[in-house]
Symmetry: C2
Subunit: 475 residues, 2 copies
């Protein structure tokens, strides 16, 4: 039954039934959503883990506009260009919403003649794709990108990108994962060896990339049919990519006689040996799989490509249905920056993009559905009063606390009931309560109570800030 429910939920989500729901009036555009305070709290934890990792690797941070000149994006995404959001021509430049953070980064490098930078960028990107919300596929979603640009010795930055993926997926405790690695040069060499004409490399690439979603026979018939590939070439490719294999190729050091005759493939296989050595030094080869069937397209690519997937957990079907799939991807794009002209200004780049929506999808839904308490504020103390007509005294006290840097709230009522104030305090995740009353005012004290373990005590007014500051465990 759980499986059936999950299936229905997913179908509903794919139909776009969930995103635009308007319990009240108004709705968000298809494939987009608001983030509630609870969702933001979860999101910030994940961002913090990712940013901490990016900073651990010495990255600077940049930001770019949400839209680019349309011409900046043109010719960078192949078939996927149809998913780009264009802005209306309102007299002026033709603009499009950014599709990823990679092309804006390359444009930034070209425009500012930067040849050397290690930066991260966390921002929303936009794709007019079919949304599937429970699977974490949105039209507006965050990407967390880390990239290394510069002319360096081979495979060292590439290996660091893989290390970063490994660190982040481990830190976030998402269960078992696998990072598939391949090389566009090996792929292209393989296509050449199998007799695929140059002009078909791109389309065959995207066919091969579908191998994790359908069996080889289906890919083959699609490839051999509408893509105009000869059955013989298709069969030869099949031998290479089936079984998800290729590890023997690397361990054997490129012993495949046909492949190693191809110049491109030989170069790729050699570098693959290098990256394997560095990953061994990093101690992360256990989660790495060299996989000839990985063929994600990167414009201006030509070297390492990789993709991280979360592996099926036994109870996955309970948590929203289907595989979470790819949660990170990346690779080389040495040719991209050069697309903005400037002869000889080649800036080799390699980077990784973490897709947090898929990572978060399940967790957020669980939290929203459950009554799990997630603190969404950092309020330390609620300033309250036991009797009426003490608004002025409450405001005077809270103003003192704010000015001393204490996170404090007050109910916006002239004469709130004490019970309502205590309840508010409870909802704020067990903040303290500082009560002013006529007796306390006379005695120059404040009654401090609440919190997890605290008894009510009278605190001298001049010691209150210190008492609150030290008395709570600040996040």
């Amino acid at each position: 039954i759980a499986k059936e429910v999950a299936k229905l939920l997913e179908m509903k989500a794919q139909l776009g039934g969930d995103e635009g729901k308007h319990k009240g009036g108004g709705k968000t555009p298809k494939g987009t959503r608001d983030y509630s305070p609870k969702q933001m709290a979860i999101r910030e934890r994940v961002f913090n883990a990712i940013i901490t990792c990016f900073k651990r690797h010495g990255a600077e941070v940049i930001d770019t506009p949400v839209f680019e000149l349309k011409e900046t994006l043109t010719g960078k995404y192949g078939e996927d260009s149809k998913l780009i959001y264009d802005l209306k021509d309102q007299g002026g430049e033709l603009l499009s919403l950014r599709y990823d953070l990679t092309v804006p980064f390359a444009r930034y490098l070209a425009m500012n003649k930067i040849t050397n930078i290690k930066r991260y960028h966390i921002a929303k990107v936009y794709r007019r794709d079919n949304p599937a919300m429970t699977r974490g596929r949105y039209r507006e979603f965050y990407q967390c990108d880390f990239d290394i640009a510069g002319q360096f010795d081979p495979m060292i930055p590439d290996a660091e990108c893989l290390k970063i993926v490994h660190e982040i997926l481990s830190d976030l405790q998402l269960g078992d994962f696998l990072i598939k690695v391949n090389d566009r040069r090996i792929l292209d060499g393989m296509f050449a060896v199998c007799g695929v004409p140059d002009s078909k490399f791109r389309t065959i690439c995207s066919s091969v990339d579908k191998l994790d979603k359908m069996p080889w026979e289906e890919v083959r018939s699609g490839g051999g049919g509408e893509k105009g590939l000869s059955p013989e070439a298709a069969d030869r490719i099949g031998e290479y990519v089936q079984g998800g294999g290729g590890l023997d190729l690397i361990e054997g050091g490129g012993q495949d006689p046909k492949l190693s005759q191809n110049k491109l493939a030989k170069e790729g296989l050699g570098d693959r040996g290098g990256v394997f050595e560095y990953l061994t030094l990093f101690g992360i080869t256990g989660k790495i799989s060299f996989d000839l069937s990985l063929a994600r397209g990167l414009e201006g690519g030509g070297g390492v490509i990789f993709e991280a997937v979360l592996l099926q957990q036994e109870n996955d079907h309970v948590e929203g249905g289907g595989s979470v799939g790819s949660v990170a991807g990346g690779g080389r794009y040495d040719g991209l920056v050069g697309m903005w002209g400037g002869e000889g200004r080649k800036v080799p780049c390699v980077g990784v993009s973490i897709g947090i929506e898929r990572i978060l999808g399940g967790g957020e839904q669980r939290v929203e559905a459950s009554e799990e308490k997630i603190r969404t504020t950092e309020t330390q103390v609620l300033v309250a009063s036991a009797q009426k007509k003490l608004l002025e005294e409450r405001l005077k006290l809270i103003s003192e606390l704010w000015d001393a840097g204490i996170k404090a709230e007050v109910l916006y009522k002239k004469n709130p009931k004490l019970l309502n104030q205590l309840q508010y305090c409870e909802e704020r995740g067990g903040a303290l309560v500082a009560i002013v009353g006529e007796q306390e005012l006379k005695d120059g004290v404040v009654k401090l109570g609440g919190g997890a373990t605290r008894e009510e005590v009278n605190v001298r007014r001049e010691s209150l800030v210190e008492e609150i500051g030290g008395g709570t465990s600040q996040p």
Copy 2:
């Protein structure tokens, strides 16, 4: 001369000459810009100050999509609607980029039937306005919004919003500032008393709001001419708004005989007394000015409005020309949420929006122009080697450091020169350098040096993490 240069710079900026500059290839759309790592570092400091303040006041955080259904924005911005960016109709919904964070917030409340929340939201908004970059006017810019929604006793949340503006502008040390306060009810009452027909309130409002940019005579002629206001009515308004006054009205408790006969104005004047009392308790009346000429338009408004301006500094002309002008604004919009239907679901709101571009403009330009060192990474240590052929040892060591949470970098060269490594270290703001050499490897130590005050010392490898972790002053 400085004045002339500043004038020229501003003219250049207004012509849009600065934003799209392409030293290399590519450019950003008109009125937008990238943020360099230096600019991001400055920006993060300002955001942190603002977020700290918002959290101090107990706010939760939400986020909304960058675009909304076009219908969500329709009829909310009056004349300014022409500045909204529409997306191209690509088959599907009609979408527009958000113009501010207030309308999406109101839509969020209506859609989720939320009647009670205190939230902040920091995000970019979009306006097809004439950019003037040196004055901090962009087409894509950040707003930092804090809003209180809910049915409360009058003026308490309003006063807190003013306190927040006061705290933030003080924290950021921007020099002297003034927060102008007015009330739409007093304005509307004043217009009624002066004989302005109801249908003209809105247009007169925006005329009056121009008073800080031109003298009354000009506003008057514009108002009396094309706006079709009788000269008598204009003169009567002039009496009220000239001299930036109105403070006597509040101190006299609404003694103006004509105004206090008007029901709306009377209500507004009464509440103005309330807010003045609360601001006195907060100790911030010194920077507050009740100003009848403040007439910023808020759809669905009807109560307090306010605007914070930085006051001219004597050396302003050196720093980019002209007044920085408004850096924050806000007020009541009790009627907005109700626009999404739902009878009887009135959610009174008041909020403030901090505009950080104008605040930052000058500071960023100074930093970019100068050679001032701003740390853009948090790197603690560079792993280096003195001899060749030690790449593997460097990678092994840095991997240990990363896994222990140390922020570390390594040069992506097989055999980098020691001098280059030390220089990189210096550029990274004086991070430490951990040198592995053949002797050190034999002895089981690492040579740790660099930093501000450090001598080179041999540290046992097993103590290295502790030594680095404790030895640097982490931000």
